[in-house]
């Protein structure tokens, strides 16, 4: 029981870490900090805040989900709770 308790705690830590990144790229860079970031240009003429809101956050979401899936599969194996 305590082992599956540790598995759950490790899972929660991973989820919180991923959701912090999720929040920073969308609500942080895409909304709250966007006006300030717009002074920086990337990939040619994209104002950075605008880029995060319409492009960057979406790319990050994709990467985050695969990162999460990969880490969780590792956790499953580490704690021996994977499906047969």
């Amino acid at each position: 029981m305590s082992e599956s308790g540790d598995y759950w705690k490790a899972n929660i830590r991973l989820v919180i870490g991923c959701l912090v990144v999720w929040f920073i790229v969308s609500y942080g860079c895409g909304i709250l900090l966007a006006p300030a970031l717009n002074n920086i240009r990337i990939l040619g003429g994209y104002p950075l805040g605008f880029w995060f809101a319409q492009q960057g956050s979406i790319y990050t979401f994709v990467v985050l989900i695969f990162f999460y899936a990969w880490r969780m599969n590792k956790l499953d194996e580490k704690f021996g709770v994977q499906e047969d």
Partner: protein
């Protein structure tokens, strides 16, 4: 019949033949196949099907138009409708897959050991899904009537028959494989014109890079986005790349769409169809990959369409630079869309020229009295003078987007009627065979109801989208998430939480849009000055979700904890394999 129409018939006809062929190949024989495709769908293919399921007529037709006219502020849709997949992947999908049943209300009913909770979930599901289906049906009718010049009713009927064939026969299995084909059609149809237009404007074939590139690909020219900002500001519009609305509203709007996305039952159910928990995690990622291809293209389509539109009416280069377009010299696409009433011009100063200006322009009055946002994607290839086959492809893509979403939603509705209401509550002893029959009947019934509302759309059809997301965000998502993550939440807490989250969201929406959407009963005008702290009714779902979380947590804390077998159930769904006790 002209060559464009012939081409459209050919392309749309070929895609229909493909869908029906797949449907006959993938008939469902058991309830498991009907509800969740026998849990045998490969995660990548499931991701593709989810993409088609998710991207509706709204994503395909309306979103780029919204972006074109709202610029930065439309980012709420881009982030909101993709960021929800992170919540889905990390908070819901793998656990619900582990639980291993057929429907979302079934999980809520079991976890909160309450038929009331299950019924509340069924009502939310049916309301949210039905409002969505009506929009799809209307989209199908519009696409047919514009491109095939059939009457709206005939178009709608053809669409209904097609959905009927593959959804009733095939259930989730048939729908899944058809959706994979539909995804291919719709993404091809969306990206081909985008690539052409990006090449025309910036010399870059990748629209995602073209949007950041120099005009004409020449470093001596302005950046496309700067050019667009300048063109718009010169004519009195707001800057394209800068925020216009208030920050709190943009923040909450995005959050509501994200939570709502993760709580929409027809999307969640898709992840019940993969073989393993592991597959559910990665399959959400694949869904988002396939969705992101369209969602990162849309900003380029929007910006480039807006620039092309402005340049057509008020060119900044060439022989007519600085002159307004003469009404008599307007292009064909302009005339075609005028016929539909979605584009309207009024010569206010009687000079025979089209002045299209924003509120900041003191010299002219705006004479483009109506430019419907929904025409941008459909008119885009014509505005950019692309070949006929591209225009035909866009028609087929729009129909594919609407059909695939409609089928997914109808499946969610029919399975909650046959599985949750009939088998779960009213007639628990029903055999597998009669359940399968009743789900087919429920499906046929839902198609007829959706078709009826498509023909006679209630005046509020556009506004109810807020309702669908509000319901999903304020009731379904919190109930599911707490069911997995907070063991202490019990039946009383969950039901009161759902009802209060739902209640406050409904009251807020009805306050500004009228009780049950009867506009004359609205308590305050639906404008930013009257909204509570500037929060739009569409953005209120996040507040409803918060209320739901707090009420459920507090009430559960002061009532009896859930029985032991429920606590074990939660332990079980938290791990992919078998729990050792």
């Amino acid at each position: 019949m002209d060559s464009l129409q012939l081409m459209t018939y050919l392309v749309v006809g070929a895609t229909f033949a493909l869908y029906i062929f797949i449907a006959i190949k993938a008939r469902a024989a058991t309830t498991g196949e009907f509800y969740v495709a026998g849990k045998g769908v490969h995660p990548v293919l499931n991701g593709m099907a989810t993409g088609a399921d998710w991207m509706s007529a709204a994503s395909f037709i309306s979103m780029a138009g919204l972006i074109a006219f709202k610029g930065y502020d439309a980012s709420v849709f881009l982030m909101g409708w993709t960021g929800g997949y992170c919540l889905l992947a990390m908070l819901l999908a793998p656990y619900l897959r582990k639980y291993g049943k057929f429907t979302v209300p079934e999980f809520i009913g079991d976890r909160y050991y309450s038929n009331i909770a299950r019924v509340v979930a069924v009502i939310c599901l049916i309301t949210a899904s039905l409002t969505y289906v009506i929009g799809q049906m209307k989209g199908i009718g519009v696409a047919f009537s514009r491109f095939l010049e059939l009457p709206f009713e005939t178009g709608l009927l053809v669409g209904m028959v097609i959905v009927f064939i593959y959804a009733v026969l095939g259930g989730m299995k048939g729908v899944t494989y058809t959706q994979i084909a539909q995804y291919c059609v719709l993404i091809f149809a969306y990206t081909v014109p985008a690539v052409f237009i990006s090449l025309q404007l910036t010399g870059t074939p990748v629209p995602q890079l073209g949007l950041g590139a120099h005009m004409g690909g020449d470093p001596n020219n302005m950046f496309l986005l700067d050019k667009l900002d300048k063109t718009l500001v010169d004519l009195g519009f707001h800057e394209y790349t800068l925020q216009k609305g208030n920050t709190l509203n943009i923040f909450l709007y995005t959050l509501s769409l994200m939570i709502g996305t993760a709580g929409l039952p027809h999307v969640i159910t898709r992840f019940f169809t993969v073989p393993k928990v592991k597959d559910a995690r990665s399959s959400v990622g694949w869904s988002l990959v396939f969705i992101a291809i369209l969602y990162t293209t849309a900003p380029a389509v929007g910006a480039m369409a807006r620039l092309n539109l402005m340049e057509t009416i008020h060119p900044t280069s060439g022989v007519n630079a600085g002159q307004w377009l003469k009404y008599d010299e307007r292009p064909d696409w302009f005339k075609n869309w005028e016929k539909t009433g979605l584009l309207k011009f009024e010569d206010k100063n009687g000079d025979g020229m089209i002045q299209y200006v924003g509120k900041g322009n003191k010299e002219f009055e705006n004479e483009m009295v109506k430019v419907d946002r929904d025409i941008m994607v459909l008119a885009n290839p014509e505005i950019a003078k692309l070949p006929n086959w591209v225009i035909a492809l866009v028609a087929a893509g729009g129909i594919a987007a609407a059909l695939s979403t409609a089928a997914g939603l109808l499946l969610a509705i029919s399975s909650s009627i046959s599985h949750d209401l009939l088998k779960g509550i009213l007639a628990p002893n029903m055999s597998d065979k009669s359940e399968l029959l009743s789900s087919r009947i429920a499906m046929a019934g839902s198609i007829c109801v959706a078709g009826y509302f498509g023909l006679h759309p209630p005046g509020f059809a556009a506004q109810v989208v807020a309702l669908a997301f509000g319901l999903a965000a304020s009731s379904i998502f919190p109930a599911l998430m707490m069911g997995i993550f907070v063991k202490r939440v019990n039946n009383v807490g969950a039901v009161l939480g759902m009802l209060s989250g739902l209640g406050i969201t409904l009251v807020y929406i009805f306050w500004f849009k009228g009780w049950f959407f009867v506009a004359s009963t609205a308590m305050a005008p639906n404008t930013p000055d009257h909204w509570f702290m500037g929060i739009a009714p569409e953005a209120f779902g996040a507040i409803g979700a918060l209320v739901n979380f707090v009420v459920a947590y507090v009430v559960s804390g002061i009532t009896a904890p859930p029985p032991e077998h429920i606590q074990h159930l939660v332990d079980d769904i938290r791990v992919p394999g078998v729990v050792r006790r």
